[in-house]
Structure formats: C-alpha cells, structure tokens
C-alpha cells in the first residue's frame, strides 16, 4: 500500500529485533473478548484515480459553477491563487502545532502577523491565533466576559446570526449563564428600548453583530454608551470580514468575536473556517486559545513562541479558560495570505466593489429595512414567495438568497440577498427579474 513504506523483508527484520514471529503477535496478548476478528465492512482500498473520480462525481451532484446570492455568514469572494500556492507547501500544510519554537518559526511568525492584522482590522489591541469558527467564538467571548466581570447574565441581539445564537445556548446551558435575547426595532437594528429594559448590573455581556444578520450597520457607539454605564462588556460579532475594509471597526467593543471565512476560505459546505477573538490588552490573560508572542533566542535574535500557555487546558486542566486545543492554524494562514495580497488599499477597493454590487441589486428591489447596509440586505417579495423565486432561479442555474422564514417567521415573505465582487451584473438582473422587477 502506497502509504506504508515498509517491505515484507523489512517487517521481518524488525520483528526479529523485537523477538516476534509475525505482526499478529503484536496483539496476541489482547484477551480474545476485546479483539475484533472480523473484517471491517469497508470496500477494498482504491486507486488514486478512483478516489479523485468519486469526489468528482460528488461534485457534479452539487450545484457546480452557479452564481450565488447567498451570504448569511458564509461569503463568496475570489481566492487569490497565491493562497493555495502558500498553504499547499508541505512545510505549512504538514507541520505540527508550534510547541517547539526553534523549528516552527515559519508558523509562529505568520501567526504573529495574523494576530497583528486582526487587531488592525478590528481596532482591538490583542487577538488570538484563531478559534474554530465565528459561531464558537461567540460563546467563548461570552465566557470571557463572565470571567472578567464575575457576573453571569448575557444578552444577545436577535440580529446576531441565528445559528450562532443556538451555539451560545448549547455552551451556556450548563455553566450557569442565563441568556436572554434582545428584539430588533422596525428599522432592523437592535431595539435600544429593549436593551435599556433588560440591561442591569448583573449582565456580563451584551452581544451584537455588525453588519448584522440583515446586513445592516448597527449603532455600535450608542450601544456601547448604554452598556458601559452598567459595567457590562460589549461583544461585537463580525461575520463578513470584508466589511472591515471600509466600515469603521467596532473600536468601542470590549471583545470582538468574528469569522474570517471571507478571506480566501472556501465555503466548503460549512467548514473548516477560522474564528477570531480580539480584545483589549488588559484582558489578555482571559483570552482563550493559543497566543504567539515575540521574544528573543539565546543569541539575542528576534524569535516567536507560543505564550501565556498557563491559560490553556494542557496546563490548567479543569481551570482552563477553555478546553480548546487544536485550532484553525492553516485556515488562518489562508486568511493571512489573502490579507497580504490585498493589503491596505486592496481590502478597501474590494469592499467598495462589494458595496457597489449590492447597492445595484438592492436598487432594483424593495427593501424591508432602510438603514445603511454593506453587501447584504433583506428584500421583500410580492406575490411570489422566496421559495418560488429560488426555484425559478435554480432552473436558470442561479442560486438565490436565503428565505428568512426559516429563522424569522415574522419575515417569511422576505429573502436575505448578498452580492459580492463575484456577482455579475447580468446575474443580478436575472435575480431582479425573478422577483418580478426589472
């Protein structure tokens, strides 16, 4: 078998050294009642060509090359070819967690750059080396706020991604952290009156998202004002990282929990993605996950290493800030290369293009909410429901937006649409036509 680099004669030599006759002798000592002596019901090993073909077939059973207007936490953006050129290098792809700093400076240096760029983008002071994804970064941020404030209640806006809110519930259920949802107002933004009503000195964190799930920019500064008066921390969630190329970062946040999938991470039916947690310097010891720090080596040269490990599970065990061990290093590297390729001006231009595309499409439809939005918005349907529109579009090999009824029953006649630099004008015209508009 091509991944087993030993010949039978080598196996025999090695068995000789051990003092055994056959490989089966290696498990002879196991009691018979624990051994599995049957054959695994899995087909015989396949050739490389068969494997490639199998997945090619699976690919054709999916939408292939259809333009898509789906966003809702996962975004279609161009992936610069340099990304795969870099992450496919064996030295990055097949390397281990950089616990041995002397032979992992490549990984450590690029993570240090990643942490820096995340801070620059989000307006925060420190950032970790990635979380599993945006959805799990949210409960981790909530748990951080609970540790820091020593309070136990959390408020989360209904305009935060619905699946992220579900994950928060799962995480907090058994940690004595009650979670309450905040309504959104007519304009599609967080209802500040509802916030004022529910906010008090027992609340550890208020969690909002910007742009929110409806694509609208939240009033971060006003919310921060209200929240800080009670000593509560403000957690801001960002699911569309490209937005940060153009919109003011949430500098008023205490913690930013986000998703970097937009940065050259393929949508890949839901994962793997790269979550981030960024915060103020003073909370650095409460941040979960790995951190890379700058230091020197024995000769005085700059070097990097994992640091503040005493927060983590392998040392603190039951008192750890989190149980996270493996993170998303390779995915974070994709994002790092993306950020490098685009750079300061490129990200801005990319964001501007997204703005233009989405506003072109929105201009042809009737919107449910009237606030400023980035590259996503909620469109009202008229007569034809969202599912019917999507069926029509599918016949023309276009994937429409997300029918909102699935998460917001009160908006069941609405669809969440996203347009990025990848969407062409003619496809947007097709969508408008399917809505019955031109």
């Amino acid at each position: 078998m091509r991944y087993l680099p030993k010949s039978d004669s080598e196996r025999r030599e090695m068995l000789d050294t051990i003092g055994l006759q056959a490989e089966e002798d290696l498990i002879a000592y196991l009691p018979p009642d624990v051994r599995f002596d049957k054959r695994l019901e899995i087909e015989n090993g396949k050739s490389e060509y068969d494997i490639v073909d199998y997945f090619k077939q699976r690919g054709t059973q999916n939408a292939n090359g259809y333009p898509s207007f789906l966003g809702a936490g996962v975004y279609n953006h161009y992936r610069p070819v340099l990304v795969d050129a870099v992450v496919s290098r064996g030295e990055f792809l097949t390397s281990y967690t950089p616990y041995q700093a002397e032979i992992s400076q490549g990984t450590l240096t690029s993570i240090f750059e990643f942490q820096t760029m995340v801070c620059q983008l989000t307006g925060m002071e420190v950032a970790n080396a990635s979380m599993y994804d945006g959805s799990s970064a949210v409960p981790e941020a909530a748990m951080m706020a609970v540790r820091i404030t020593r309070r136990d209640k959390v408020l989360i806006a209904r305009t935060v991604h619905p699946e992220y809110r579900e994950v928060l519930q799962t995480y907090t259920k058994h940690q004595g952290i009650p979670v309450e949802e905040l309504a959104y107002a007519k304009r599609g933004l967080l209802d500040l009156d509802d916030l004022k009503k529910k906010l008090n000195e027992e609340v550890a964190a208020v969690i909002i998202q910007t742009p929110n799930f409806f694509g609208l920019l939240e009033q971060v500064d006003e919310i921060s004002e209200l929240v800080s008066r009670k000593g509560t921390l403000l957690v801001v969630v960002v699911t569309e990282a490209v937005a940060l190329g153009l919109i003011e970062p949430p500098k008023a946040a205490d913690i930013v929990a986000g998703e970097l999938q937009s940065f050259a991470i393929p949508p890949s039916y839901g994962g793997p993605y790269a979550g981030i947690i960024a915060t103020r310097e003073k909370y650095i010891r409460q941040i979960p996950g790995r951190l890379v720090g700058e230091t020197t080596d024995a000769d005085g040269h700059r070097a990097f290493c994992l640091t503040l490990a005493t927060r983590e599970q392998h040392i603190r065990r039951e008192k750890a800030t989190s149980n996270i061990c493996t993170n998303q290093a390779l995915i974070a590297l994709m994002a790092t290369v993306f950020m490098t390729v685009y750079g300061k001006e490129g990200l801005r231009e990319l964001a501007r293009q997204n703005l233009a595309k989405a506003h072109y499409l929105a201009g042809k439809l009737s919107l449910a909410f009237d606030g400023p939005f980035f590259n996503e918005f909620v469109a009202r349907t008229n007569g034809k429901g969202p599912d019917e529109i999507n069926s029509d579009l599918a016949k023309r090999k276009v994937i429409g937006g997300l029918p909102l009824g699935r998460f917001y029953p009160e908006l069941k006649d609405c669809m969440l649409l996203c347009a990025t630099e990848m969407n062409r004008r003619q496809d947007m015209d097709t969508v408008a036509a399917a809505f019955g508009k031109n």
């Binding site: 090993g45 281990y96 620059q120 080596d297 493996t326 599918a394």
Partner: protein, 501 residues
C-alpha cells in the same frame, strides 16, 4: 555522528509590516460592471473608516518570497518523522488535498438547497457510515470541529440522557493520565472532576474505580489505549461497573490509531467516543489545525446527537431538524466538511483490510523503537506497548539532563522532538509514537540519534543542556515572552529629537 542533516538555509526575513511600502500592491480586481457608489453617502461618513492603519502593502513577489522563506523555517511531516506521542503525525496524502478542492464541493454554500447539495450530503453519509463501522458504534456526528469540541459534545449528550432520566448527577471521573482537554471539558458541562489514580501498570485501577463510583458519578472519561500506549485490559469490566451504577463511559479516541481493525470500542461497552480525524485519519495538521472531532455513540445516546441529522427520503438526502431530544448545535452549519472529505479519501485509499494493516504497522514501528531504545532509556511501564511507547528520563536525570533537554538535542539530529513531560504520571516522560507511515530507514536514523544522545549525556552533558546548536533559532526565551507578552507588531515610535539650537 549526525547522519541526517547539515546546516539549514538561513534567511533574515522581516515581518510584512517591516517591508511594507505605500502603493505596493499584490492584487488587481476586475473592473466594476455596475455603477460605483459613494461610500460616505450610502453608509454615512461616520461609518466609513479613513484607512486600515498600518496594514501592510506588498507586491505579489514580496508575498510569495515572504511566505516561502517563512516556510523554510518549519519542520514538517514531509521533511521527516514526528515522534509525538498521541498526535499520530502520519503522512498527509496529497490526493486528499486535490479532492478537497473539487469545485462543486469546495464552493458549496451550507444554505444551498438540498437538491443542489446531494454530493456533499452523500460524502457526509458515507463517512458517518465508515466511522460507525470502524468504531462499532450505532451513529456518528461529524459536527464537532476538533477533539476537544467532540469531548464537549459527548459529555453534553451524557448529561442530556441523565437529565432525561431525572438526575444529571455531579461528577465526571478522569484518570490522572488523561489529556488536559478531558477535565477542562467536564467543567464546561457543569460537572466536577474527580481524578483517579492509575495503577502500577499505568492503567485505570479497578479497585479505585469501584470505590469512587457512586450514584453521583455521571461518567468516566477513559483513553484507550491510554496515554502510556497500553491497552486498558479491563475495559469491559470498567464499562460494566459504570453501567451498573447508571453511569456512562466516554472514550477519548485520540489513540485510535492503535485500534482500527483490531478492536472496536462499541463492542467493548463504550457509550460515546470522539475520533480525531486530524490524527488517525491523516488530515493535515497545518501548523495547529483544522481538525475534526467526529463523535460516535451507542444506540442509547442517539436521540441526543447534535442536529440536524441526515435522513434518506425518496432517493434523496434531507436534513432533519425534528430532533426533540438533541443537545442542539455545537457550531454553525454541519461540520468541517473540507476535513471530512480528506478523511473519507484516506479511508477509501486503505479500504477495510488496508486499515487493519496500517494499524499493525503502527504497532510494529512503536515496538521496534521500544526494543532499540530500552537499553538506553528507562521504560516507564513494562506492559506491552501498542502504537506508542513511553520512557522516563530517570537515567539521564542523574546527570542533570531532563527530557526537555534531550528533546532539544534531538532537533540537532534533524528530528522533531517526541512529546515531552506528558503524561504527568510519568516522571520526565518521553512519549514516542512513530505511526505506520515511517520507513525502517527513518526509524533507524531516529534510534541512532536517541542512542547517540544517551551517550552524549554520559560524556558531555553540556552539549545536550545547551541544545539546539544547529537551528536557525537558538533556544527561545519563553520566560520573557510570558512575563512581558508582546502579541502583535507595533510601529516603532518616533524618538524625540532635540531641536537644533
């Protein structure tokens, strides 16, 4: 004599921010085919950021050189053996990378209609089935993103089942040899942790267990084979004992590389376990992740699995959200699909028989190393080793040399260190797991290196204590990094200058 490596390519490569220059670019976007919009008018001036301060600006050439140079500073499986215990650093097959990039799969959006996602759903179904077969369990969820995430999912399910029975109970038992994620996870699910001492063979002590299992105990988290590489021979009795008291058994499957095709945890009484697809199933570590923590359960726990679950209806796959007893979601969407593709490709490449052969080769490699090193290093436990062997640094400690120093000297010989100082029950542990994808030649080179170091400890301990000597970076000052953490680059502050008269 060091046989394996000579001097490394050395580069002095600055950070991106230090080579940045305004106006340099590595991208070019297509022209807009729709009218441009003025951001300030559309968003409101206060919402538009003036710039991304200090963000780098480099060209495409700078970028590829920068990352390529950084890559040369890394050790990797493609370069040589990682003898890291319980990490199972095996070859990452390249065909896995190719198939993960299949266009219809890589660009699939999780909210695409089911009609347009049958290919993805088929892959998920196929992998769930293969992993159920391998573990001998009744159902599998592929939602968790990593092992620790899988542990969290598993303990949540245990709690849900016990709550349904009327009493979630209070405590989870964790052997003192367990990986740190185990107790950390138990706390996250609202349980107390009780550590139980291993016996003199490094295994769970049945007598100790009998004494501590009360009706307050919800479950036991066990690793099998355990973290000293030894099969828990009493596993059936352990599961029986726990079940008799109405408690459940969680198995940490990090060491599954020793069991595939040879023993099935489901057959032994385990109720729930996780698998690390980035260990046993060859998906790449990529410098720290991504992983995937598939969780397999016995029938009794299937109602509690995270949703949605796949169901087959009219020749099509559908997502079923109607799961009244489910613990809910542990993450958005369905799982690290890109990692699942790679794991399935690995299973397909080996096939049923092949997987078993891989396991036998893993055991052979570990025992071969154990035989070669036993004369020089103190074997921690005499019980037969499975896929990894554990030594202690007792002999070398007499010369003032500890496991961490030996590990650093190993780097001079061209190898990545083994797992240092874990498990905690072994004093000065050296935990070595070669995996099945190492050739005899690489193992012989490794053994030569370790034997040579053992001799150096006797004759010239300073050489080992000050190692590594040949790396681009000498020993790194982790103490200062922790005392004064600097976790981001900052632009150098302009120094005040005295005004000229």
């Amino acid at each position: 004599m060091i046989k394996k490596v000579s001097k490394h390519i050395v580069q002095n490569e600055p950070l991106l921010f230090e080579m940045s220059s305004p106006g340099k670019r590595g991208y070019q976007l297509p022209e807009l085919d729709v009218p441009n919009v003025d951001a300030e008018s559309v968003l409101g001036t206060q919402n538009v950021r003036p710039e991304i301060e200090e963000f780098p600006e480099v060209s495409e050439v700078d970028a590829i050189r920068h990352f390529t140079r950084l890559s040369t500073w890394n050790y990797a499986i493609d370069l040589g053996l990682y003898p890291l215990g319980s990490c199972t650093m095996k070859y990452n097959p390249r065909v896995n990378e190719v198939v993960a990039r299949t266009e219809g799969l890589a660009w699939a959006h999780p909210y695409q209609s089911e009609e347009l996602s049958q290919g993805c759903m088929e892959v998920i179904a196929a992998l769930e089935q293969a992993l159920a077969e391998i573990t001998g369990m009744d159902a599998v969820t592929l939602q968790p993103a990593a092992g620790a995430h899988g542990e969290f999912t598993g303990i949540l399910m245990i709690r849900a089942l016990l709550e349904k029975k009327g009493n979630p109970r209070k405590t989870i038992l964790v052997p003192d040899s367990a990986h740190g994620t185990n107790p950390a996870t138990a706390m996250m699910v609202g349980y107390n942790v009780k550590n139980i001492k291993s016996n003199e063979r490094g295994m769970v002590d049945l007598h100790v267990l009998e004494e501590v299992v009360t009706e307050d105990v919800a479950g036991l988290m066990i690793t099998n084979p355990n973290t000293v590489g030894v099969f828990e021979e009493n596993i059936r009795k352990i599961c029986g004992l726990m079940h008799d008291k109405g408690a459940l058994v969680y198995m940490d499957g990090a060491n599954m590389n020793a069991l595939v095709g040879i023993a099935r945890p489901g057959d032994l009484g385990v109720d729930v376990m996780h698998l690390n697809l980035h260990k046993t199933f060859s998906t790449p570590h990529g410098g720290g992740g991504p992983g995937s923590g598939a969780v397999a359960v016995a029938k009794v726990l299937t109602p509690y699995l995270p949703g949605p679950r796949l169901k087959r209806e009219d020749e099509m796959w559908r997502w079923n959200y109607d799961l009244p007893d489910s613990i809910g979601r542990v993450r958005a969407f369905y799982g690290n699909f890109g990692v699942l593709v790679r794991a399935l490709a690995y299973i397909m490449a080996h096939g049923g028989n092949g997987l078993r052969q891989a396991t036998l080769d893993a055991l052979l490699n570990a025992n071969y190393l154990r035989a070669l090193l036993e004369p020089y290093y103190e074997l921690a436990y005499k019980a037969p080793s499975m896929h990894e062997c554990v030594f202690s640094d007792d002999r070398q400690a007499q010369k003032g040399v500890r496991t961490g120093d030996i590990a650093k000297r190993l780097i001079d010989y061209g190898f990545h260190p083994y797992t240092v100082s874990f498990p905690l029950i072994v004093r000065g542990a050296l935990m070595i797991e070669p995996t099945e994808t190492e050739s005899k030649r690489e193992l012989d080179l490794f053994a030569d290196a370790m034997i040579s170091i053992a001799k150096e400890v006797e004759e010239d301990p300073e050489l080992v204590l000050k190692a590594p000597h040949s790396t681009r970076t000498r020993r790194v000052d982790e103490v200062t990094a922790a005392r004064k953490p600097i976790v981001r680059w900052k632009a150098p502050q302009p120094t005040a200058s005295l005004a000229a008269d």
